[in-house]
């Protein structure tokens, strides 16, 4: 997995590169927007970690360039500006994820892992939570080695919950994951799918938070 890191602050760049290398990733560092564009064009990386505040070029321009010339590259944007506006703008411009400075090493590595999985890397195609294993490549799930029979939406729902184990998933975010834009969603459809899933899973595997959503606790 090759990562291009575009960050002008040497101390941050050094720390991020070290953290990534320690997780077995190959990191190529550039300190400016033009160098980043050149590198994107010459040898597109799997993941671009892009600081929006580069000195020689607007970060959004680099983002656009990346989407145009290296569409397969996943982009994780770093920024020191917290306004929701620039966050939305970044995601609109094609950023795959977003991290506000300062961030913890664990947070950074978790985000990179999610992007890795999205790229279909073999090493991270399965997700394990307790006795449950999800094989994202074959879209299969198994419980203690026994295959589970899941309807398509049940699988998607379980994957969404398991992918973010330990994090509450709101009703709204699950609905957007499961249904396309403009698709009619029955008000209780998530509840119905959860009900079916629960019958196939160990007791207490999916936790309900009244009025908020659901969560698969980390095990």
């Amino acid at each position: 997995m090759r990562i291009l890191l575009a960050e002008d602050d040497p101390l941050i760049a050094d720390g991020v590169a070290e953290a990534l290398r320690q997780s077995g990733l190959v990191v190529n560092h550039v300190a400016g927007g033009r160098a980043a564009c050149a590198s994107l064009l010459a040898d597109p990386p799997d993941i671009l970690i892009l600081d929006l505040g580069l000195p020689d070029m607007d970060g959004f321009e680099v983002l656009k360039y990346s989407k145009a010339h290296a569409p397969a590259t996943q982009v994780l944007v770093l920024t020191a500006r917290d306004s929701t506006e620039s966050k939305v703008r970044g995601l609109d411009a094609g950023a795959d994820d977003y991290l506000t400075k300062p961030f913890a090493r664990a947070e950074l590595l978790a985000r990179v892992r999610v992007l890795e999985r999205r790229l279909g890397n073999a090493a991270s195609a399965t997700i394990d939570v307790g006795p449950l294993r999800i094989d994202t490549r074959n879209q299969e799930a198994s419980l203690s080695g026994e295959p589970l029979t899941l309807a398509r939406r049940e699988y998607m729902l379980l994957k969404a919950l398991v992918e973010s184990a330990g994090t509450i998933q709101t009703r709204e975010s699950l609905e957007t994951r499961l249904y396309g834009w403009g698709e009619e969603v029955a008000s209780n459809s998530i509840e119905v799918h959860i009900h079916h899933l629960r019958k196939k899973l160990p007791n207490g595997f999916i936790k309900t938070l009244r009025g908020i959503g659901y969560m698969v606790p980390r095990q």
Binding site: P102, T167, T170
Partner: protein, 461 residues
């Protein structure tokens, strides 16, 4: 002066009414003088008529002496003219019915006032053409006045009656004339606090051009200073967070690399990480506080799905909720408010953060959003330590922390959370109240967004 329109209408109307009244009075007086002349002329004419006919009748002895039967109606038209025909020795030759039998006036030629029969009279005394007798013609003064007034007043009344009509017309015309001012005022009034676009300068009357130009210059200066302020905030955020981010990642790497070091080293690193975390939090809170200050606010209000936003913000706190084994629930209605997304999210994040921080492990948090006719009510209720009644006013002060830097819950913070909450509440013209928790212990923070009131966001700190 409350209103130019009222002022102008009232003053113009008063002046007009006064002038009108003066003109009417003058017209009336002038008319009365004219009438006097006219009536006197009429008397003279009647006298000439008498003078023409009577002496010859006397010569031909057609008149009986004592002349009681001389017709008087000839001389009467509307108001009566009375007359006496008198010999120079004072003996009456003839008189009209209502005249007494003796001369009513001294026998000297000319006009004069006389009094008899309980009235005041205008009298004309003149010698006949043959010099053998005198005529006295008399007209009642009150009748003369009444007659004169009946002619003059109809000409004067319209002037007075015109005043209210004139007032209405003035009011309307001034309204039309002042419309550009009203439009300018409405233009400024309807503006959001953040709207600093210049006022439209074309098609306005010359009187307002200078005002508009000045206002526009002011708006330009304001916008420039706001832009400077915004840039400074953004730059400050960037400049503060970049070194913090460097320290954080380096410190985390150090912790990873030294995972086999002595517990003393590891403890030191952990404290360093904790300190950096708090510093990061402080920087965030100061920047948020600066951004949601009502007098700095430059955003735009939009409809916000409050309950959905709360749900999302709770999800963001999953780690803290899980690690402290807190029981959290969101109840009530799906409520919506008008507001600034960043500000509202910052407020909820702080309220939620406080509830998590000050609720002991295994405690309960309940968040309720209620859509009432009076507005949307947000309750954040916990069963934590609560805040003593007498301290509830102080907790909104900046950097104030109950029981100093660390209270018995062991929770740490920078003391800006509730200041941020208060500013957001003010920004939205909402209302905040600290109440007793329905759990028995703990605190309920209630924020009420009043319906359709103070959308402009001019709260006061």
């Amino acid at each position: 002066m409350k209103s130019i329109r009222v002022f102008l209408t009232l003053t113009l109307l008063s002046v007009t009414a006064l002038l009108n009244f003066a003109a009417a009075l003058r017209g009336y007086q002038q008319g009365m003088v004219e009438a006097e002349v006219l009536f006197n002329q009429r008397m003279q004419q009647h006298l000439d008529l008498l003078n023409f006919s009577l002496p010859s009748q006397l010569k031909t002895q057609e008149l009986p002496t004592g002349g009681e039967s001389i017709p008087t109606r000839v001389l009467a038209s509307g108001n009566q003219l009375e007359f006496q025909w008198i010999r120079p020795n004072g003996e009456l030759i003839a008189r009209s019915e209502r005249m007494p039998a003796s001369p009513v006036a001294p026998l000297e030629s000319g006009y004069r006032f006389i009094n008899f029969a309980g009235y005041r009279w205008h009298a004309l005394v003149e010698r006949s053409q043959d010099g053998q007798s005198w005529y006295v013609l008399a007209e009642r003064d009150d009748q003369r006045w009444r007659m004169a007034e009946s002619i003059i007043l109809p000409a004067v009344y319209p002037m007075l009656l015109a005043v209210p009509v004139l007032g209405a017309i003035m009011w309307w015309l001034l309204g039309v004339g002042l419309k550009p001012v009203a439009k300018l005022a409405a233009d400024l009034e309807q503006r959001e606090a953040s709207d600093l676009r210049p006022l439209v300068a074309d098609n306005i009357p010359s009187e307002l051009r200078q005002l508009t130009a000045s206002a526009n210059a002011l708006l330009r200066r304001l916008e420039a200073s706001f832009a400077r302020e915004r840039r400074f905030s953004a730059d400050a955020a960037h400049e503060l967070r970049t070194p913090l981010a460097a320290l954080r990642i380096q410190c985390d790497n150090l912790a990873f690399n030294e995972s086999k070091a002595s517990s003393q080293v590891q403890g030191g690193i952990a404290k360093l990480q904790d300190g950096l975390e708090r510093l990061g939090h402080l920087v965030d809170q100061i920047l948020i506080l600066n951004r949601v200050a009502p007098d700095q606010y430059m955003g735009r209000f939009e409809p916000i799905a409050l309950t959905a936003a709360v749900r999302q913000l709770i999800a963001e706190q999953s780690d803290a909720l899980e690690s402290r084994e807190l029981d959290i629930e969101l109840v009530g209605d799906e409520a919506h408010v008008q507001g600034d997304t960043f500000a509202i999210e910052s407020m909820v994040r702080n309220l939620l953060g406080n509830a998590i921080k000050y609720t002991p492990e295994g405690g309960s948090i309940r968040i309720r959003t209620t859509d009432t006719p009076q507005g949307v009510v947000l309750d954040v209720i916990d069963n934590g330590v609560g805040i003593a009644q007498e301290l509830r006013d102080r907790v909104f002060d900046r950097f104030y922390r109950v029981d100093g830097d660390r209270n018995d819950t062991g929770a740490s913070g920078c003391g800006l959370g509730l200041s941020i909450v208060k500013q957001v509440v003010d920004l939205h013209g909402a209302h905040i109240e600290l109440r007793d928790s329905e759990f028995g212990t703990g605190l309920c923070v209630r924020v009420v967004f009043a319906t359709s009131e103070s959308k402009g966001g001019h709260g006061n700190e």
